[in-house]
């Protein structure tokens, strides 16, 4: 009960399908609902799949992009660290390998610087400081005799940590440099600091080794965010970096940010252990995600094409489906109507038979008595009203004749027809029927044109019933045509299963409304003398024989009756 109610509710209020009938609205609604349903069922999974693919691919691609960037950044950072460590070790080695006295010797210092410049890239000068920060010896292009460094932060740091690598600074010749200083305490209590200046050309070389695309950028910043190398997009050396990079940390990270110009970029940053530098590599997302955009475009096109194809197919299929349903509905409706008609005919038939039987006897009595009255009057002596009486009895007799014609027809209509099949030539049957009507045709000068197919196959049917059928239709045709009218009778093979008989007249024709009713019992257009039974009987007989009848008619132009009869005995319409 509940499910039925739910279904009713869904049909009525959600799908809004009219419940009954074969109205166009019903099929429109049906078509609409099937289309919506089919599109939903196909497009939802497709969309889900496309979305999942989209995100999965995006994630994979990102991983694939981020990892190499991470590795590259990390490797380059290692190169930087190695470079700096190497320089630091060298300075530390010199500091501890030579004694204070040796290092104080200008010649020795110059020799060491010469070797360093030969063996290592970037060394600019060497300076020896005593533990109070006084410059003791110097080898290099500049000379600072008597300078004291004790107040500088790096000096304090060297004293505490034993070594120091400075941030980049511009030297006197405006080249970027870093300085490396190491502290040594000899066994005899003598302590000194050796400080070397190294230019940072090597930094640029290391960054260049990354072989980045022109749209990319790589640079070093210190712990305050000051650029230690030139950057392509984010400032010159010793300026503050305009890219917001989190300062201080460990390891290597990649994040996606937007720079000040609004470019979407991937930024990899790797923190140095010593000194406090950060290597930053920036790659615009657009460059990295070129493949991603290609994929996205492809997936969009494939998705759109698929959806369009689905919609097209769904439309076509639904059209076919709905027209099938419509056809089936119409067939069912037709079968139902025919059944209804047959049932109506048979029940009217039973009623008619009963009435006819009951009326037939009183009618016979009236007829006999009136006849007897006439006999008596005719043979009796003359009296004043004699002619009038004869006229009256004649009139009664005529009326009873008419009544009996009707009852005969009613009985004929109701009669249970057992079809007696025999092998017959339809042309012969037609000729027989025409012979009945020949006199009338001659009298009214009606032209009967016969176009009988000589090669017409013989059929299995009931001669008597067929005679009645053709007689009914031809009588109607005779009634319809004026004197001098034309009637065409044609037979032909329709197909393997049936033959056709066409009876065409150029008589008065029928209106569409009449045409709808001609097979209804008691419907007649012959005012006064039609029983309205001829065509229903004809229809019943043809149906029982498994044939069909069609009528075309135009008011004022004539009618064509088309009768199709099966060549072989068929299972009859059960009623």
């Amino acid at each position: 009960m509940k499910t039925k109610k739910i279904r009713e509710f869904v049909t009525k209020y959600i799908l809004r399908i009219p419940e009954e009938g074969t109205s166009p609205e019903r099929y429109k609604a049906l078509r609409r609902n099937i289309i919506i349903l089919m599109i939903l069922v196909t497009v939802i999974p497709l969309s889900l799949m496309a979305t999942i693919n989209y995100y999965q691919y995006q994630k994979n691609l990102r991983d694939e992009i981020i990892n190499p960037l991470n590795v590259l950044t990390n490797k380059t950072k290692r190169s930087f660290e190695l470079f700096l460590e190497e320089r630091l070790s060298t300075v530390r080695f010199i500091t501890s390998a030579y004694s204070y006295a040796e290092l104080s010797d200008e010649k020795v210092m110059n020799r060491i610087l010469g070797v360093l410049k030969k063996e290592f890239e970037g060394f600019v000068d060497l300076a020896l400081l005593d533990s109070d920060g006084n410059l003791v010896n110097y080898a290099g292009p500049y000379s600072f005799p008597g300078k004291n460094y004790s107040q500088q932060t790096w000096f304090q740091e060297v004293l505490i940590k034993g070594a120091h690598i400075s941030d980049v600074f511009l030297g006197y010749r405006k080249f970027p440099h870093i300085s490396i200083a190491t502290y040594n305490l000899s066994g005899d209590g003598q302590s000194w600091i050796l400080r070397s200046t190294i230019d940072t050309k090597k930094f640029d070389a290391l960054l260049a080794m990354m072989e980045l695309e022109p749209e990319c950028d790589a640079f070093l910043i210190n712990s305050k965010g000051i650029l230690q190398t030139n950057s392509r997009f984010y400032g010159r050396i010793l300026e503050t970096c305009s890219l917001p990079v989190p300062l201080g940390g460990h390891g290597t990270y990649v994040s996606e940010i937007e720079d000040r110009e609004g470019r979407e970029i991937f930024v990899a940053y790797s923190y140095f252990f010593e000194p406090d530098f950060t290597l930053v590599v920036a790659k615009p997302s657009s460059l990295i995600l070129k493949t991603w955009f290609t994929f996205r475009t492809e997936i969009f096109f494939i998705y759109t094409a698929s959806v369009l194809l689905i919609i097209l197919l769904v439309y076509k299929l639904t059209d076919v489906q709905v027209s099938h349903i419509k056809e089936a509905d119409e067939k069912r409706e037709l079968a139902f109507r025919e059944l209804e008609h047959s049932q109506k005919l048979s029940s009217i038939g039973r009623l008619a038979a009963g009435v006819a039987h009951e009326i037939n006897n009183p009618l016979a009595i009236i007829s006999q008595k009136a006849g007897f009255m006439k006999d008596l009057i005719t043979s009796g002596s003359d009296f004043k009203e004699k002619p009038k009486f004869i006229e009256l009895t004649d009139s009664i007799l005529k009326s009873t004749d008419r009544c009996s014609t009707i009852t005969h027809r009613l009985l004929g209509f109701a009669r249970r027809m057992e079809i007696e099949y025999e092998d017959l030539d339809l042309n012969d049957v037609l000729k027989e029927v025409i012979s009945f009507l020949e006199k009338e045709a001659l009298h009214r000068n009606i032209n009967i044109d016969l176009k009988l197919d000589d090669n017409l196959e013989r059929i299995s049917s009931d001669r008597g019933q067929l005679q009645q059928v053709f007689l009914n239709i031809l009588s109607n045709a005779f009634a319809a045509v004026e004197d001098n009218g034309n009637i065409l009778i044609q037979t032909k093979d329709e197909d393997d299963e049936k033959v056709g008989v066409y009876i065409k007249d150029d008589g008065c024709g029928m209106s569409e409304k009449d045409l709808e009713n001609i097979f209804e019992p008691f419907f007649t257009t012959k005012k006064g003398y039609g029983t309205g039974l001829g065509l229903p009987i004809t229809y019943g007989i043809i149906k029982k024989m498994g044939g069909s009848i069609k009528v075309e008619s135009q008011l004022g132009k004539g009618s064509t009756f088309m009768i199709f009869l099966p060549k072989f005995r068929k299972k009859m319409l059960e009623v």
Partner: protein, 121 residues
């Protein structure tokens, strides 16, 4: 035709009576019987020259009466009174030796002609 007698067998009393009266008026003696038993009794006791027999009757049917009459072997011609739509019964009656049949409601002159034909035969 004065010495001719006709037996009309029909369950419709008034119809049988009016036919009898009309025949009498034309100078033909006529009796009526409303059922099979009466008819057979009359035929046995006072055989008529001709029998008009209705096929559709309650009780003993026309065909049964026809068979009984045949069994008397009196050689009386029988004209069947038939209703429309009892073609099969009529055919059977004809096969059983009825002289002719006439459909109800019948034209009286036709009936008289058939009676004469039956007697001349």
């Amino acid at each position: 035709m004065n010495d001719i007698s006709v037996l009309i067998v029909d369950d419709e009393e008034e119809l049988a009576a009016v036919i009898a009266e009309r025949l009498e008026f034309r100078g033909i003696k006529a009796q009526t019987a409303l059922d099979g038993e009466t008819a057979l009794r009359i035929i046995e006791s006072d055989p008529p020259n001709i029998v008009l027999l209705d096929l559709m009757m309650p009780g003993m049917s026309g065909l049964e009466i026809l068979k009984k009459i045949n069994s008397f072997k009196l050689n009386i011609p029988i004209i069947l009174l038939t209703g429309y739509g009892s073609k099969e019964m009529t055919l059977e009656g004809m096969n059983l030796g009825a002289f002719d049949y006439i459909m109800k409601p019948c034209d009286f002159d036709v009936l008289v002609t058939k009676i004469q034909e039956a007697l001349e035969d």
